[in-house]
Every structure is written in structure tokens, then in C-alpha cells.
């Protein structure tokens, strides 16, 4: 793959950044107003580092401008609309123009190619409903590479394994906890990994610890590649591992990364740990200007021996905010509670929320679900157990539908409610 030299890249990034700002300023009231409040005009951004003078964009802004308030093109130019769980009551809605989709396809294809995927591969995509958007993007990217794609379909573990085995899948794209779930299922059902053609496992949604990576590589006889993306402003593969597996290359021709101090907002130098902030450089429909991801990482500025000139990030897996990441889906406490209220039909007096892992699984990165504890009191109590069960069951289903991750609701007496989470 050919890359432009440093000066050229700098020029391309600056040109794209400036026209992105010009378009956002011209077409999106939100961006125009905020720039003006800071006494700024796009023409004040003369270098990439001038970007640090602009205000941040946060997850809550996406929800507040539901549904189309942040679009920079007329709706007639939009060819695809994606919905992702937001951090509040409203989901996050993003749009794509024809050109945006083309850019994403090529970007995902490039990231897949860096993981060694070729037209000869058979690629299987497995995500939960909360990450369905990524499933589409990976399908498009893989088809661009002319690989054979088995698109994302919700399947039971048994069926998943059947497809993996019978369809001779060579590349599996999924989240870390699902991969670990697969391993334990295979071993429990006495299925030897030698029965698979799988050679590449691409993990997204969560960072993986080195031991976990080694565990998966060992049990599945594969090499593991990590890719990074944003689920609410799809999509995936904004950063990707190369053959060296030393950090993730950011697709810098389309996204400009900054690492900031999450408390002060100040930009940190390479090597320092902070929050990743992205600015889109080519997005037409949905420009992101200094979008705070909440993900912790540090920038590696040394060039990589693979030849790809894009800067790398070391993705640390921790968060700078109080979002829960469940199977790659990011959720906020207040958002969960609001959805819970809607699902129950009333506001519970007290509740507690936990991220839990299914217990029968291996110790590493087991598949997670959301557990909600409700305090049992007179308001909730009914002398008919059936009624209670129905209420809980319905609430679980509704909540699952709205936030895209599995949910368990437990009723707790006052003594156990305050107790330890077990």
C-alpha cells in the first residue's frame, strides 16, 4: 500500500480539517454557535495544533440534538441512517452520504487488509444487536476486499459453531467476551479447535489484556488482531493493528486524534496517558469536531516498521467517564435508569446497576450482561407472584430492546439490597 510522505500528509490533513470546519460552521447551527461563543471562526485554525482552541463535543451533545440536529447535509443527500444506544433517553442517530459510505468501506477494507484478510478469506461477523451497525460496516468493508462474507445474524452458540465449522470460516470478527464464550462452549462440548479453518480473530469493542490475547490465540489456534471504533458514531476500524501488533494505527487521513487530560482538557504530548479525542476529516453528513470518546489511551509517535505512517495509539481499555462497557456497547447509568422507568411503567424507589459476567465461563473476558437490582417494598409488592414475574420479564425484554445488551432484573429485600454485589 502506498502512503503519501509526511509533508503531503500534513497538507492533506490540514486541507480536510479546514473544509470540514467550513462545512460544519456553514451548515450546522450547533457548531456555528459554539465556535462563535468561543470567538472563533474556522479561518483561525491554521495548523492542526490550532484545533486545540476549539471546544469539545461530547456524547450528551449527540443525544440533545436527536435525531438530525447535527447533520451537515440536507436529508435528501443521506443514504443511510444508523441508530445506536445513546447516553441518555434518546438514541444517537447518525447519517451517511453516498460518499461517506464509500470512505467507510475503504477504511474498513484497509484495516482488514492490515490484518492479513484477502479475497480468499471466508469472514464471519458476530455481534449483539447493540453493535449491529458495526456488523454492516464490516460486511461492506470485507466485500470491498472481495472476501466471502457471512453477515451478522444473531445465532445461538451452537449454530455459530456450526457455521464456523461447516462454512470453513477463516476470519471471525467479534467482541472479546463473545470469543471467550465461544472457547468455553467448544471445550465444554468437546469440540477440538483443529476442526476449524479459523486463522484470524479480529476483536473489537473492548481492549484486550496480553494474557487474554495469548489465551485466545492458544485455544483457538489463531492470531488475534485488535481494532478500535466508536459505536455511536459508527463505525469500526478507526484504528487498527498492523502485523507488528504494537499499538493501533489511527486512520489519520480520515480522523485526527488528540490525547487530552480528561480533567483540564489540555492536549497531552505523545507517550502521556489521557482521553482520546477525534475530529473527522472527511465525513460529510456527520462531522465530529473534537469528540471526546471517554477511552483512555496514549499516543505512540515513533514510526512503525510496518511502513504505515499513521500514528499509533496504545488502547488501555479504561474509561475516563462513568460509562459501563457491556459487550462493546457503552451505557450510562442515568440512561439505564430512565429506560428502566419506561420499561417498568413507574420509577423504582431504589435500584442498583451492575455489569455481570455469565458465571460458567472462563475467567478471561467472559460475556457480560447488565444486572439490575430493585428494592422490594410495598410499591412493588404484589401478592400474586405471577404478576411480579410478568412485570420483571417484560421489563427485562424492553430494556434489552432499548439498550441492546442482555439484562437480568432481580428483586431484593432490604437486607440483601444494600449488601455486597455477588
Amino acid at each position: 500500500m502506498e502512503y503519501p510522505d509526511y509533508e503531503q500528509r500534513l497538507q492533506i490533513q490540514l486541507e480536510r480539517l479546514q473544509s470540514t470546519l467550513n462545512r460544519a460552521f456553514r451548515s450546522v447551527p450547533f457548531h456555528q454557535k459554539r465556535l462563535q461563543e468561543h470567538g472563533m471562526d474556522p479561518l483561525h485554525v491554521e495548523t492542526l495544533s490550532d484545533l486545540s482552541r476549539l471546544p469539545f463535543m461530547e456524547r450528551k451533545d449527540l443525544g440533545e440534538h436527536y435525531p438530525y440536529g447535527l447533520f451537515a447535509v440536507p436529508l435528501r443527500d443521506i443514504v443511510r441512517i444508523h441508530t445506536a444506544p445513546g447516553t441518555n433517553l434518546h438514541p444517537t442517530v447518525t447519517g451517511y452520504t453516498k460518499h461517506d459510505l464509500k470512505v467507510w468501506r475503504e477504511m474498513v477494507a484497509r484495516a482488514l487488509a492490515a490484518s492479513g484478510v484477502t479475497a480468499l478469506d471466508i469472514l464471519q461477523i458476530t455481534f449483539d444487536s447493540g453493535l449491529a451497525n458495526w456488523g454492516r460496516d464490516y460486511k461492506d468493508g470485507a466485500e470491498t476486499l472481495e472476501a466471502s462474507v457471512i453477515p451478522n445474524t444473531p445465532l445461538s452458540l451452537e449454530k455459530q459453531l456450526m457455521v464456523l465449522r461447516d462454512y470453513k470460516t477463516t476470519v471471525l470478527i467479534t467482541i472479546p467476551s463473545a470469543a471467550s464464550q465461544l472457547v468455553s462452549y467448544m471445550f465444554r462440548s468437546e469440540f477440538n479447535p483443529t476442526g476449524l479453518n479459523l486463522k484470524t480473530l479480529i476483536l473489537v469493542g473492548d481492549a484486550v489484556a496480553p494474557e487474554f490475547r495469548a489465551f485466545l490465540e492458544d485455544r483457538l489456534h489463531v492470531s488475534v488482531w485488535l481494532q478500535y471504533g466508536l459505536s455511536e458514531v459508527p463505525g469500526p476500524a478507526m484504528a487498527f493493528e498492523c502485523r507488528n501488533h504494537q499499538g493501533l494505527h489511527v486512520s489519520e487521513d480520515h480522523f485526527f486524534p488528540e490525547i487530552i487530560n480528561p480533567k483540564t482538557g489540555e492536549v497531552l504530548s505523545p507517550g502521556e496517558t489521557g482521553e482520546v479525542v477525534f475530529t473527522s476529516l472527511s465525513n460529510r453528513a456527520f462531522p465530529l469536531i473534537r469528540f471526546r470518546t471517554g477511552d483512555k489511551a496514549k499516543l505512540i509517535s515513533e514510526p512503525c516498521s510496518c511502513g504505515c505512517p499513521f500514528a499509533r495509539i496504545e488502547w488501555l481499555g479504561e474509561r475516563t467517564d462513568d460509562l459501563l462497557t457491556i459487550n462493546g456497547v457503552k451505557l450510562h447509568q442515568t440512561q439505564i435508569i430512565r429506560h428502566l422507568e419506561k420499561a417498568l411503567g413507574f420509577a423504582p424507589d431504589q435500584c442498583r446497576i451492575f455489569k455481570k459476567q455469565y458465571s460458567y465461563l472462563e475467567k478471561y473476558g467472559a460475556r457480560s450482561y447488565l444486572e439490575v437490582w430493585l428494592l422490594m417494598n410495598e410499591n412493588l409488592f404484589s401478592d400474586e407472584i405471577k404478576m411480579l414475574q410478568k412485570l420483571i420479564h417484560n421489563a427485562e425484554e424492553k430494556l434489552h430492546e432499548n439498550i441492546g445488551v442482555p439484562v437480568k432484573i432481580k428483586l431484593k429485600e432490604i437486607r440483601t439490597f444494600a449488601g455486597e454485589n455477588r
Binding site: Q8, Q11, I12, L14, E15, R16, Q18, S19, N22, R23, R26, P42, L43, E46, V73, R76, D77, T97, K98, H99, K102, R284
Partner: protein, 247 residues
């Protein structure tokens, strides 16, 4: 080859170019499109040194063009084919062409100049038939060819053209643009300013869209030709075309 960063140009106190960054690589044909008054011609004039007082960064082959007068810029290898041709009507076609090479006569490049004259005549045979004729008596298309020929006589490595299709019949526009493609194949880098966006993008490698002194879009020309916004604003497609079939 040409690198522009944060260019600002003024007419008095009015800022006509508001922080434009743009680049042209060696061997590329780049089109700059935009509506009337978007600043396209201003940008070309700044590059050629015809509009001093600009701010920002204008570099040709990594050398700044700041403070250089037009002849010095021509000597560096940049030639302009100005809007409305601006040939010298009373002078003969031959004299017009020779004037294009005037910075080279001082360097005593007579042999090379004769060769280039031959090259221009081969490129535009109609000029050869009319060498002695006063330039003012040529047709519009022939005058445009003469203006391009004159710019080529300076032996530029970067050719700038300001609305070469203006006022020409479609057939002639085609001929002029085909010539540009040919020049690019001969190794000349081209920055083309056009209102005829469709024609300009068809022959270009890449394009920039200028709007009230700012770049709002850039990309390879196939993408721009297919772009809904470009179609609406510059390719003369009516809004009705877009609503059709959408109820």
C-alpha cells in the same frame, strides 16, 4: 509542487480569500470550481504575484513566493492564462507568442524559444496559418489558443488557467480542454479555474470547491462529479431532479 496554506487575500478591507489551503502535486491536473465571486480568480492572481499583500503561505517547489514580482514568478516556472485571454489585439500572432517568452530572451535562449514556438504551432495548427495576422482579428476560440500558446512560451512547469472556456462554443471548449489533457501528458502541471464545473472536473484528477473565499469540499474529481451538493450548486441540476421519485 504548489502548496498553499491559510491564504488570505484582501481587496481594501474586504477579505476575499479566507484562509484557503490547497495543493497541486507534480503532474496533476487540479480544478478549482465555485460560483461567481467565490474567489477563484483572486487566488490565481495571488499565486502570480498580481495581487500583492496576501497573508499566509504560498510555496512553489518549497520556495516561498512571498514578495516576488510577477516576472520573477514566471521565471520560476508559473504561467497564467488570464480570464478573457488578454492578448494584444494589434500585434501579430507571432509577436504575441514571442512576448510570452520575453523573460527568456534576456537569458539568450533563442534556440529553445524557436523550438517551443514550433511546439505551440504543432499544438494549435491554426495559429501557424495566421502567424502574420493581427491577434485581434482571430475568433474567440483562436484567441484562447493564442493565450494558452503565449503562456506556454514561458516554458512553465505549472500552468494556471482562468476560465479558458468562457464565451466559447461547446465544441471549442472541448478542444481547449482536450489540449489541457495533452499538456498534462507532456508533463505540465495544471491548475484550472472554471465555472463550467462539469467540464473542468471531467478532465481533472482532483478538484476543490470554493465558496465565498473558503474551501468547502475537496476530493478526486470522480467523487465530486457524483456529489449531490456539487451537482446542486455547480452542475446546474435543478432541485426538482432530486425530489423526483421521492414523493
Amino acid at each position: 509542487m504548489l502548496r498553499i496554506r491559510n491564504l488570505k487575500c484582501y481587496y481594501g478591507r474586504i477579505m476575499a480569500i479566507k484562509g484557503v489551503s490547497l495543493s497541486v502535486a507534480e503532474g496533476e491536473l487540479v480544478s478549482l470550481i465555485g460560483a461567481n465571486g467565490s474567489g477563484k480568480s483572486t487566488l490565481l492572481q495571488a499565486i502570480c504575484g498580481l495581487l500583492p499583500g496576501w497573508e499566509g503561505e504560498l510555496a512553489f517547489r518549497n520556495d516561498s513566493l512571498k514578495g516576488l514580482r510577477p516576472p520573477a514568478i514566471v521565471q520560476k516556472g508559473i504561467s497564467l492564462v488570464p480570464e478573457g485571454r488578454l492578448i494584444f489585439p494589434p500585434l501579430s500572432v507571432l509577436d504575441n507568442l514571442k512576448l510570452g517568452a520575453y523573460t527568456r530572451y534576456r537569458k539568450k535562449q533563442h534556440i529553445e524559444i524557436a523550438q517551443d514556438l514550433e511546439m505551440v504551432m504543432t499544438l494549435f495548427p491554426v495559429l501557424k496559418e495566421r502567424t502574420r495576422q493581427a491577434a485581434g482579428t482571430l475568433s474567440g476560440g483562436e484567441q484562447q489558443m493564442l493565450a494558452i500558446g503565449r503562456a506556454l512560451m514561458a516554458k512553465p512547469s505549472l500552468l494556471l488557467l482562468d476560465e479558458p472556456s468562457m464565451g466559447l462554443a461547446p465544441l471549442l471548449v472541448d478542444k481547449i480542454l482536450r489540449t489541457l489533457v495533452q499538456l498534462r501528458e507532456n508533463g505540465i502541471t495544471i491548475l484550472l479555474v472554471e465555472q463550467n464545473a462539469q467540464a473542468a472536473l471531467k478532465i481533472a484528477d482532483r478538484g476543490y470547491v470554493l465558496e465565498t473565499g473558503r474551501v468547502v469540499l475537496q476530493g478526486n474529481s470522480q467523487d465530486l462529479l457524483a456529489d449531490d451538493e456539487v451537482k446542486r450548486a455547480y452542475l446546474g441540476k435543478d432541485y426538482g431532479d432530486f425530489y423526483e421519485g421521492r414523493g
